[in-house]
Symmetry: C2
Subunit: 155 residues, 2 copies
């Protein structure tokens, strides 16, 4: 999994802590976590395309959440970065080789594919159950204060 | 995810269908699903190391399940092929950059890491809940008969 998932979840959670939804410049986001700005930029763009973040250009621009943190879940962020294709892809090997079944014999999904899909659904469902607001509330109050202090320093 | 996961799950499920736990030669397993034998060999070796399959060498040798199919679950096979490391690795970026927290401030796990670990656990738990015996029983009776007929043909 791309390191961008960690970056995206941290940035979205950080932006949810900024008072009054103020925008944060990309440079400041990158510095906050010591991330390489050009790589972060790519992931932030993906998050904007997925309607997780909004980007405002110009001297007073920056990044903010595109929606209320209660309306963005961890899966939204992960899928924005990684795409929504399952990690397992079924090549229907039951239809190949000397044991091949005919297409007509394979109208029901392969049992192997089903068990992998069920696990993938459990993974997505777990991520979907946690919002960015949940993540923010799980941080101790002093961490949130620390983050806001650092972000607004010299602003 | 490696295609070997699909191969490994199919081969283990197939071997569970062979009457009296008879061994199946690697060549025959590869041909059954039209798989390249050298690549399959690598994955079968991993399954033997993980105590999912047993390999017997010699003219009457081949592969069989190492344990009863009720005692092997889908996660055993997936982890044998893919390893057991989670797809997400936390780089502790909360301890980096201008917003860095000190190690003493990070005694509790990162909330981002926790949510990703929880999803990984849900995925593993789903795979752990399905045994090779379950997979075999989900196959229609005529598919199982077909598989046994093909495997014992010319034996």
């Amino acid at each position: 999994m791309s390191q961008g998932v960690e970056w995206g979840l941290h940035c979205a959670t950080l932006l949810a802590q900024v008072p009054d939804g103020a925008l944060v410049r990309r440079e400041k986001l990158a510095q906050h976590y010591g991330l390489p700005e050009p790589y972060l930029a790519k992931h932030l763009q993906a998050l904007v395309r997925a309607d997780v973040l909004r980007a405002v250009s110009g001297p007073r621009g920056g990044y903010g959440l595109a929606r209320a943190p209660e309306l963005i879940n961890a899966l939204d962020v992960v899928e924005a970065i990684e795409g929504s294709a399952p990690a397992f892809t079924c090549k229907e090997i039951r239809q190949a080789g000397t044991g091949a079944l005919s297409p007509e014999q394979c109208l029901r999904p392969c049992v192997i594919n089903s068990v992998m899909t069920q696990a993938d659904n459990a993974w997505r469902s777990s991520l979907r159950s946690v919002t960015i607001a949940d993540l923010t509330h799980r941080l101790p109050k002093w961490v949130r204060k620390h983050n806001v202090d650092v972000l607004t320093e010299g602003a």
